[in-house]
Assembly symmetry: C2
Homo-oligomer: 716 residues x 2
């Protein structure tokens, strides 16, 4: 078909039918946010899940893309938006949809003509149905006072009983920039070193871990090449054209009759090194470069101190975290590329101290949760379903995002129903068919399926608590503070019962801590691990006497199996820091993360065994290059330093209240910034003096055992 | 970004890892269908629902597109395909996905390189994960013996407990032609008459009802026009530029600096007339034309007889049906454009006698059912949920599609659970909040919410029966004949209880038929309607004495409220024909459908009131042009003539067995063809002689009260 397609007015609406002043319904009041910018809005979670799918489907394995093995959920192709406004005078509004749009004002359908919608004076009830078959429907409304954003509700069909607050993202304020088109910014980067070798057409080192689109320049001829993406030089050069099993991240690219062409691989990848190998025909590649993606968020958090080694660690941790925070926060940028719930808990906590990227955190929480029906644990892992509740509760505390708190609640409920359908007859989280009990990567198997782990029970208790309205442990568990109260107290009760059971069933006075596993025969397994004891500290399971025992006889006892992953190091060091052992924590940070730096890391790893040297560090999962060398959970010093050295912590959602309890941990001085939804909090500790600047919220400084309100308050 | 994008080999796989002979699992046996063509395959229902969304989202109303008000469901972005083969020798296969593809052979992931997958000799278990974020994932596999199609299973994630037979469509046999790209064929059509009038830039008549893409040719200037799509000349010329409320189907089109451009409107529409009205600026339109879409299926069915009027009616009915059968079968091609379950029952029955387009019927059944969760009745109409079961059972009987029978069963179950959740305390289908009890368009309200209608109870009984394995009424209700038997007999029992209750509660000996409504106080409403009595005949509720009473005192009694819609005329005439009253039926067909022809119809209407004349026929729903003039349910003579005059009817799924029971109904002669999955059945009745040619299946001719096997069997 020959087609010079016209611009069609379907997206821009103009008042046409005579509106009636009748027909006011009871939908939520639209906020008259004059002065605020209009933002694109959609059904809660849809873009988090959709973007998450896209990223996760692009995991690369031997030239093929590998989508997750757990369920991936589609989007609802229709969204029904509504809001009610009281207008002092008639108002012209622009309405733009990503999808087809039909507007109903005061219960009459409107006509779409060239122009804009003119709303009448008085009470105006707007309904807008947006339909899109290829990506989540979205709507943008912009008038003088009537704007899309807070105050709008959205359902997935006309009579959706769970109509939720519309979701949006402060960065999508332009009618022309639809949220489905969003990509991260990028800039050209050239390799710092290029080599041509026997059999390898081209080898390039981009100098540091990067994420972006590979460009082959000056491509001439006809044929095919294999491009290997690598995090180590050894991997990039170990390519075996006939059986490329060891290097897993590569693609085959083919061209016909190219003449000095530039070829841009249209999917962004994580790598530092690239090697290009001829496969077929005669294709010459002049140069390689990349469009390096820039961090998705500004680095609002900061940390500097008297110890340069610690500063280096903080910088590389910040690089690591930024690299893993794509449109959705993936765990490893090269090998894994999937989004894991337990890992996300930590990536979010780090973000609260580095970027304050609340939307990125929120979208990642949606991505990891997915939708209904729930047919397996998140990522198929028992602990990861429970961890998600911890992440949600913590996110609400840090972000103060009450729209998310409301929107996510139905999915907290449906997941807990799934979880409960799989508890054993005592109401305890035993692993069922197909459930993966992860806990941690460790030299010994952490879960014997013939029983229940203390660790899992504690996580489930936390999940129950996160469903509640209650305030445990200095309000850090204040999930859903604007909740409906419907059924939540029952959840808290179940959480409390589990807490009691954990202590009753697993506490071993002789060992001075919590044991690991309760076997099906009702007796305790002899295995003693750090895991339940770390979380016992984190979530206040112990009295003072028990606490001392746990610290001395387990946490500081080298005879108890050591933790090798930065993942569990996170919680271990957090527990020590929560106990005030900052000097110990600092020393561990310096030796553990410093050790990776000594091994040449430009980003932190999935796993670090301090006793290994050189190339041994590249191996994991039985593969010589199986380890992710840029792994979000490797970046935990960001969190530890911000939360337990600068000592900044919200105590009411969104930093409406917070405490600052600095601890130098042996440093001479330190200074830093922590992002909050109300502005940055700046902390300087030097020469026995603490200076805190907080932009708003009710702050309390705790210093030398004293509590005092944080002065001065200043306006930006 | 500058980008000359490469072709990437991600879709073409080659054997790489060393395969193990171990790892054979229990997935379904792949059929060694050497000689058959490979076909694209997908998760059952996904393309029916996705294409249905696309079409339905394009309903046009005052320049805007209006998606359905009931729930629209998205697609699953991942599909897991699997099959097992026993190969006598190694085999090379081509694998192409619509989406990302990862292949696992004998429990080892494969590498994707330039080339093909080479399968080893022996038992080969193939798994393939396809992920697609913008349309349903699909897979095409083509080797010498290993081909996609029958024998493959598919789940929506790795451990999907309901893994179903993969679905496919015989027309997608080309690797390059992905099912998501499919569009109907079209050809250029010029108007038969063009006028230029005061205020109207252009008026064109395309001579008959059509469906296609409008083209504006020789467009010059800058500005905007409104294009009105109309089924009547009056509507096309009644456009009021300032308040176009009466004509509902129009779009605004704008152009900048066009110079002799051709502009093709990229969404196909139903219309016969088009008018173009200047709105803004100065845009001159030289000519209009259209790309008229061709029928989606060949017209395999045929009917000719001694009465030319009846032949005309059959022809226009066939045109009508073909026009409404788009990628999915919509009800009305202009106004409505949505897909309605009750209407689909009839469109499918007509297709069984005209096109034998089993895939189109199947996809439409999926479209109308949607997915889970079920949150409202289909199309929000109580009767329409029940009717869907009738359509499914009937489709299985006519098509013999056992893959569909298996695949649809889980959704039959989940819908029946929803239905049962809304029954009253007696287990009867009372209307709940928001349920629409439709029954028929009629001058008087057919449902008083204070009670239960006999009609609804009979439909629910039929739904229960359709869930079963049983064989009622000469096996016409043989739903799910390959069913698992799991729970189905319970369903049949519930159906039987309802049947008994209908007779016990609604039969009025004095009135000689079934009454309409049982009020909440337990007494019968005095209203007597044809509806339950028609269905009582259709589904054998009556003994011979009751039957005579119903015919004489209700069906042939002009004092009982007449039926005006072709929708219920369908069942009324079917009931008469089932009673052997073909002469009466023929006379009704000639006067009712003939009456529409007399009014100038080139396709049959949504509603016809024989007492109205001229423009009054255009009005409906309180709008002067609200009536659909090309409505699938208007085409029922196709079914009535094929089923009750030629008398062809399957009695075992897929015409494995069938009867032919011709009835001239007063005609001198008739001849025709009926499509079946096993070939056409040809029937000729002339000079007291019947000739039947059936290609296969066990046929029985019933003629003059005698039953005889159908000779001759011949091969094509």
């Amino acid at each position: 078909m020959k087609s010079e397609k016209m611009i069609v007015a379907g997206a821009v609406f103009s008042f046409c039918a005579a509106f009636s002043a009748l027909g006011v319904s009871t939908v939520a009041e639209g906020k008259l946010n004059a002065g605020c910018e209009a933002v694109w809005m959609w059904y809660p979670g849809e873009y988090g899940i959709w973007r998450g799918n896209k990223l996760q489907f692009e995991r690369l394995q031997w030239g093929a893309e590998l989508a997750p093995f757990w369920p991936s959920y589609g989007f609802n192709p229709v969204a029904e938006f509504s809001a009610t406004f009281d207008l002092a005078e008639p108002e012209e509004v622009e309405m733009v949809a990503d999808g087809t749009l039909n507007v109903n004002v005061n219960r009459k359908d409107c006509a779409a003509v060239l122009g804009k919608l003119i709303l009448p004076k008085g009470r105006v009830e707007i309904k807008a149905r947006v339909a899109n078959n290829v990506r989540p429907p979205a709507l943008f409304v912009n008038g003088k006072t009537v704007k899309s954003g807070e105050g709008w509700r959205v359902g997935w069909w006309q009579k959706d009983a769970q109509t939720l607050p519309a979701e949006f993202d402060a960065k999508f304020t332009c009618a022309e920039k639809k949220p489905g088109d969003w990509k991260l910014n990028h800039e050209r980067a050239e390799p710092v070193e290029v080599r041509r070798l026997d059999g390898c057409a081209l080898f390039a080192d981009f100098g540091r871990e990067s994420y972006g689109y590979l460009a082959l320049e000056d491509v001439t001829g006809k044929g095919a090449v294999r491009v290997v993406f690598a995090e180590s030089e050894k991997e990039a050069l170990d390519e075996k054209p006939k059986a490329p099993q060891d290097c897993m991240e590569w693609v085959s690219l083919a061209a016909k009759d190219a003449k000095n062409a530039e070829i841009l691989w249209d999917k962004a990848r994580g790598f530092r090194y690239v090697s290009v190998w001829p496969v077929e025909g005669d294709l010459s590649i002049g140069r390689v470069a990349m469009e390096r993606e820039l961090p998705r968020s500004p680095r609002r958090g900061a940390f500097r101190c008297s110890d340069e080694r610690v500063n280096q660690i903080w910088d590389v941790a910040a690089d690591t975290l930024e690299l893993t925070c794509r449109e959705i926060f993936v765990e490893g940028i090269k090998r894994d590329h999937w989004v894991w719930s337990g890992d996300v808990v930590q990536a979010l906590l780090m973000n609260y101290y580095l970027t304050g990227d609340w939307e990125g955190c929120r979208d990642t929480l949606w991505c990891v949760r997915g939708k209904d029906p729930v047919v397996t644990h998140l990522n198929s892992i028992l602990d990861y379903s429970f961890f998600w509740y911890d992440a949600v509760a913590t996110h609400i505390l840090y972000s103060g995002d009450k729209l998310f708190a409301e929107a996510v609640h139905p999915r907290m409920e449906s997941l807990i129903r799934f979880i409960e359908s799989r508890l054993d007859k005592h109401g305890r989280p035993a692993a069922r068919n197909g459930d993966w009990v992860f806990i941690d990567w460790a030299p010994q198997k952490l879960h014997n399926t013939g029983g229940v782990c203390a660790f899992e029970m504690m996580l489930l208790a936390r999940a129950y608590e996160a469903m509640g309205n209650g305030e445990w442990e200095e309000r850090r568990l204040a999930a859903h503070p604007w909740g409906t109260g419907n059924g939540e107290w029952e959840m808290e009760k179940r959480g409390a019962i589990l807490r009691d059971e954990v202590m009753r069933l697993f506490w071993d006075e002789g060992k001075g801590g919590l044991m690991h596993l309760l076997k099906n025969d009702g007796t305790l397994d002899s295995q003693l691990t750090r895991y339940p004891n770390i979380f016992g500290i984190k979530w206040n399971y112990f009295d003072e006497g028990q606490k001392s025992n746990v610290v001395e006889r387990i946490l500081l006892n080298d005879a108890v199996m050591k933790i090798q992953t930065p993942y569990m190091r996170f919680y271990e060091l957090e527990a020590l820091a929560a106990l005030g052992l900052q000097e110990k924590v600092l020393s561990e940070i310096k030796s553990y993360w410093g050790g990776m730096l000594d091994e040449g890391a430009t980003s932190f790893w999935e796993l670090y065994n301090t006793s290994e040297k050189g190339d041994a560090h590249l191996a994991m999962y039985g593969r010589p290059y199986g380890k992710s060398l840029c792994h979000a959970w490797g970046a935990s010093p960001i969190y530890l330093l911000g939360r337990y050295f600068l000592g900044v912590e919200p105590t009411a959602p969104g930093y409406a209240e917070y405490v600052v309890k600095p601890n130098l941990g042996g440093l001479e001085w330190m200074e830093g910034k922590v992002p909050t939804p109300l502005g940055d909090i700046e902390v300087t500790v030097s020469n026995g003096t603490v200076t805190v600047k907080g932009n708003s919220g009710k702050g309390t400084l705790i210093w030398n055992g004293e509590r005092m309100p944080i002065p001065p308050r200043y306006s930006p």
